[in-house]
């Protein structure tokens, strides 16, 4: 029934082409909201254990395929629905700035792709048959490709979009290979068949192939390089839904893979692979995030880091189950699943804030901003809220999920079984936690605080109310999960049960009371801070409170260009981060010997070492292949006839020997 409503939505979206420019967004909003409400209704039914019949149908293309909704799918549907409603609401204000410039068809295509992306993501998480899964997966890639191309007149946008398309298809090839292999061995390409395959054949090759395929979407190291290219190019609401939700479909695939692995030595190796790739991805992402000087590139790297955190949780869960301690498994799984939800919420908010800034400043370079909080106060508050949430600080939601992962790891250490795995996780997660604070204080401090670094800042004004409302939707969920985690953990534990088969009551026994206490402590913390502030204000009423310039340490000719920039803020980290980066410098820095420095232009960009490594390797190989191929192109007809003859002879010989 729900599936048909999705298909109906796919038909209705062509209405977008018929209505006037300004109304297109409302058609998209209507369709997405309807689909989202239906999805949430279905998800609630799935959580309440109501019987949802799997839809099975046979098509000439894929054979018999089915769509089913289990609890993991339901969780994903909720994530997709919330973020997509916020995104489509946000898009009105953002796209309004382009209505003059772009043709009606351009806007229509954008919104059609947006609705298609939402629908295809829902189809991805619902399809249990491999081929319909691959079809929806491809639909999702193409829809997001079109969305990235919104500002197609910019050359960097076209390059980033093409890069994205190529990378996604490399991943897609791995997925196709994996599912075809699966189909060949078991006779079915369903997700359930993976389990049979693991019994029949050596499981690790298939696992690795599919892991790479899903990892490409999720942005695992070293396949993360499309993220920092695609996000700055895409419009902010598209970045929000891609980063907040779409990369989670990759994680979803990895969870489905884990689900197919039964307890035993295989689960150990799977857990180890996931844990190590999570730790590497997380650390790589966070260090590069801290080094970036572009808001959206930085947020993209932070998404990579968060996928790393989710994978650390999943890895700990797998290792815990393999070692026979369901508590560790439960904590890791619940933490990872909750972090998926959490990241989709605060990352949407952060990208929306970045969009607000971009639509006013027309740039995402941090070092041209400063003091924006005075001109865009609501955006500043929202961004601060999301910053605290993503830094995993209590009492907001990021802390709850990291707490669960940590409890799992500390349990692993305490029980003395999985000490080395857990310690690896603790080291990685604590370093990530510390660097996230560095990265986001840099972002927030340089963009919103201090004094303006360029005159454009003074012209900024607050954005329209609809965009604020769109940001308030994730904010409300962040607050709810942060302050009342004990209610949220119940459905999450049900999903964890569906994935790992552990008893969900274990969750409430083991950390239900912790989360309840945490909820009171979170409220108490807010109350203490508020009380301190009120007391301070009361005390100050009787004292002399004056205002003056910032203390310049005796120097009186201060100007705003002397402020700490983003680059100088992360300078200390550079000695650690240098092996991971390749710097491109434009201009020249002031030399130590210059006593009276002349005006200098200096711009530095920290790009990923993996990026240039992969890129260079790829280009060189293409060049070499081209050289060989070009030798054959002589331009003489007699040579070409010889080639044809050689080809026929080779075919003949091969046939004679029975090779063909």
């Amino acid at each position: 029934m729900y599936l048909y409503s999705l298909l109906a939505a796919m038909l209705v979206i062509f209405l977008i082409f018929l209505v006037p420019k300004r109304l297109k967004v409302w058609v998209a909003t209507g369709v997405v909201s309807l689909v989202a409400v239906a999805a949430i209704a279905v998800a609630v039914m799935a959580f309440c254990d109501m019987k949802l019949d799997a839809v099975e149908f046979t098509t000439t293309l894929f054979g018999a395929e089915s769509f089913a909704i289990d609890k993991l799918t339901a969780l994903m549907l909720v994530i997709i629905s919330v973020a997509s409603v916020a995104t489509v609401l946000y898009s009105r204000g953002y796209v309004a700035g382009y209505l003059e410039r772009f043709s009606s068809a351009h806007i229509s295509i954008h919104y059609t792709a947006l609705v298609t992306l939402v629908v295809s993501m829902m189809l991805v998480v619902m399809s249990s048959g491999g081929f319909s899964f691959l079809f929806s997966w491809e639909l999702m890639t193409i829809a997001s490709f079109i969305l990235i191309l919104f500002e197609a007149e910019r050359q960097d946008v076209r390059r980033a979009a093409l890069n994205y398309l190529v990378m996604m298809h490399i991943g897609f090839i791995f997925l196709v290979a994996g599912f075809v292999l699966l189909y060949n061995v078991t006779g079915s390409a369903n997700f359930e068949a993976i389990q049979d395959y693991f019994h029949l054949e050596a499981p690790l090759p298939l696992f690795v192939i599919l892991f790479i395929g899903f990892g490409m979407k999720a942005g695992l190291f070293p396949m993360h390089i499309w993220l920092p290219e695609a996000h700055p190019a895409a419009p902010s609401h598209v970045s929000a839904i891609m980063s907040g939700v779409m990369i989670k479909t990759g994680v979803y695939g990895i969870i489905r893979l884990m689900q197919a692995v039964e307890d035993g030595s295989l689960l150990y190796s799977v857990g180890l692979i996931i844990l190590i790739s999570g730790a590497v991805t997380g650390l790589w992402g966070v260090i590069l995030a801290a080094m970036q000087n572009d808001i959206k590139r930085m947020l993209a790297y932070s998404s990579i880091e968060n996928v790393g955190v989710i994978l650390i949780g999943l890895g700990i869960a797998a290792v815990g189950h393999a070692a026979g301690s369901p508590i560790v498994g439960m904590c890791g799984m619940c933490g990872a699943l909750l972090h998926m939800v959490n990241h989709s919420l605060f990352k949407t908010m952060l990208f929306f804030s970045a969009g607000n800034i971009y639509s006013k400043m027309h740039t995402t370079a941090m070092n041209e901003m400063g003091g924006l909080a005075k001109h865009m106060p609501i955006t500043a508050i929202m961004m601060l809220f999301a910053t605290v949430a993503i830094c995993a600080l209590p009492p907001l939601n990021g802390f709850v999920s990291e707490l669960l992962i940590y409890i799992g790891m500390f349990n692993g250490v305490g029980s003395g079984h999985e000490v080395l795995y857990s310690v690896t996780g603790i080291i990685a997660l604590s370093l990530i936690g510390g660097f996230v604070v560095l990265a986001f204080t840099k972002l927030y401090g340089v963009v919103f605080l201090g004094s303006p670094r360029s005159h454009h800042v003074a012209e900024c004004t607050e954005v329209d109310n609809q965009r604020i409302v769109a940001m308030a939707i994730p904010a409300a969920f962040i607050l709810m999960i942060g302050l009342m985690p004990q209610f949220v953990i119940h459905p999450i534990a049900l999903v964890a049960e569906a994935v790992t088969g552990t008893d969900p009551t274990l969750a409430s026994i083991h950390f239900g009371s912790s989360l309840e206490t945490l909820s009171y402590i979170g409220i108490a913390f807010v109350a203490v801070v508020a009380l301190l502030y009120v007391l301070k204000r009361r005390a100050q009423r009787k004292r002399v409170v004056t205002e003056g310039p910032t203390w310049g340490c005796g120097f009186t000719a201060l100007n705003t260009r002397m402020q700490y920039t983003g680059e100088s803020f992360s300078e200390g980290l550079e000695s650690i981060g240098r092996p991971l980066m390749k710097d491109t410098v434009d201009g020249r820095a002031v030399d130590k010997g210059e006593i009276f420095p002349a005006p200098h232009r200096y711009r530095i960009k920290h790009s990923d070492k993996v990026d240039s490594l992969l890129g260079r390797w790829w280009v060189q190989m293409m060049h070499r292949i081209n050289e060989y191929v070009m030798r054959l192109r002589t331009g003489r007809v007699n040579n070409y006839i010889t080639f044809a003859l050689v080809f026929l002879v080779v075919v003949l010989v091969l046939t004679l020997f029975g090779v063909l």
Binding site: S513, G548, C553
Partner: protein, 305 residues
């Protein structure tokens, strides 16, 4: 309940006296008469009565930040037990909450420093953020080592009575105590990482971040500093007392004297690190804590090396 109140009271005493012991030790080693034992408290009382000057560059965040800084430190403070006493608040997993509350207080002060738009304060903020990030693994692994011995992740459980620890683990526990004392140096902005008495803003870390604070705000920041010091001093003292005599009557004085004297002696005897060496210094501490955990694990498994 009475035990909880006793614990909190003792904690407050510890927090208030550590700075006094530090000052007395420094004076004694330098051959000065030095200030009164309670001078730092009088100083803060004076600040609390003063008015404030705020920079025109700042936003409301600058005025709220000290409250968050103190509030977060205060919440973290309430989770710490002294040896076998019960803390006021406790739940399963609170060691992580304490670590993250301290991170929150750090974030508040860093943002406040960035809010002034001063390059000096930006400098301090950048350093604080980096050192805070690097010290996090040391803190977490130090806590994990304690969790390894006691099989739990709440302070109250880890340090509860009845934890009879093997005599083999003496060295490990002493090293854990050492790690927490060094973390106290780093988080408290003490020599060898930072020098609170330095005259040059360029070389300051913690002090330079509060350059624009005055009056009540500065008092709040200083009080939060005492609380943070007390948290690490007491964890270190608890680890030591787990070896010898696990009793609050032993641990509380040890926290005051041990932390106070060690800071005083180190500040009197050695100079501050070159700033570029601090990264290595802190990372070495993290590596040491990982090593300690490993040794502890091997000892727990009765693996003879």
């Amino acid at each position: 309940m009475l035990i909880k109140l006793l614990n909190t009271l003792l904690m407050v005493v510890v927090a208030l006296s550590i700075t006094g012991v530090i000052n007395r030790t420094r004076a004694l080693l330098a051959g000065r008469r030095g200030t009164r034992f309670l001078q730092h408290i009088y100083n803060v009382r004076l600040l609390l009565r003063k008015g404030s000057v705020y920079s025109t560059t700042t936003t409301a965040l600058f005025r709220i930040a000290p409250c968050v800084y103190l509030g977060a430190a205060l919440m973290a403070f309430l989770f710490i037990p002294i040896a076998n006493l019960e803390p006021l608040l406790s739940f399963h997993g609170d060691i992580i909450l304490v670590a993250y509350l301290l991170a929150f207080s750090r974030l508040a002060l860093i943002l406040a420093a960035m809010d002034t738009g001063s390059s000096f304060e930006g400098m301090g903020a950048a350093r604080e953020a980096l050192y805070g990030a690097l010290v996090e693994p040391a803190l977490m692994i130090g806590l994990a080592t304690l969790a390894l011995f006691c099989g739990d992740s709440s302070f109250a459980e880890i340090f509860s009575e009845g934890q009879v620890l093997d005599v083999n683990l003496t060295i490990v526990l002493l090293l854990v105590a050492y790690i927490f004392v060094i973390i106290m140096f780093i988080e408290g902005g003490r020599v060898p990482v930072d020098d609170p008495k330095t005259h040059l803003e360029l070389t300051m870390i913690h002090e330079v971040m509060c350059l624009d604070y005055s009056g009540i705000d500065l008092a709040m920041i200083q009080m939060a500093g005492w609380l943070k010091n007390a948290i690490f001093a007491i964890i270190a003292a608890n680890a030591v007392s787990a070896v010898f005599c696990f009793h609050w009557g032993f641990a509380a004085p040890l926290a005051i004297l041990g932390a106070g004297i060690s800071v005083g002696v180190v500040e009197s005897l050695r100079a501050r690190n070159k700033l570029s060496r601090n990264i290595t210094y802190i990372l070495t501490l993290s590596a040491l804590s990982a090593l300690v955990l490993l040794v502890g694990f091997l000892l727990m498994q009765d693996i003879q090396i």
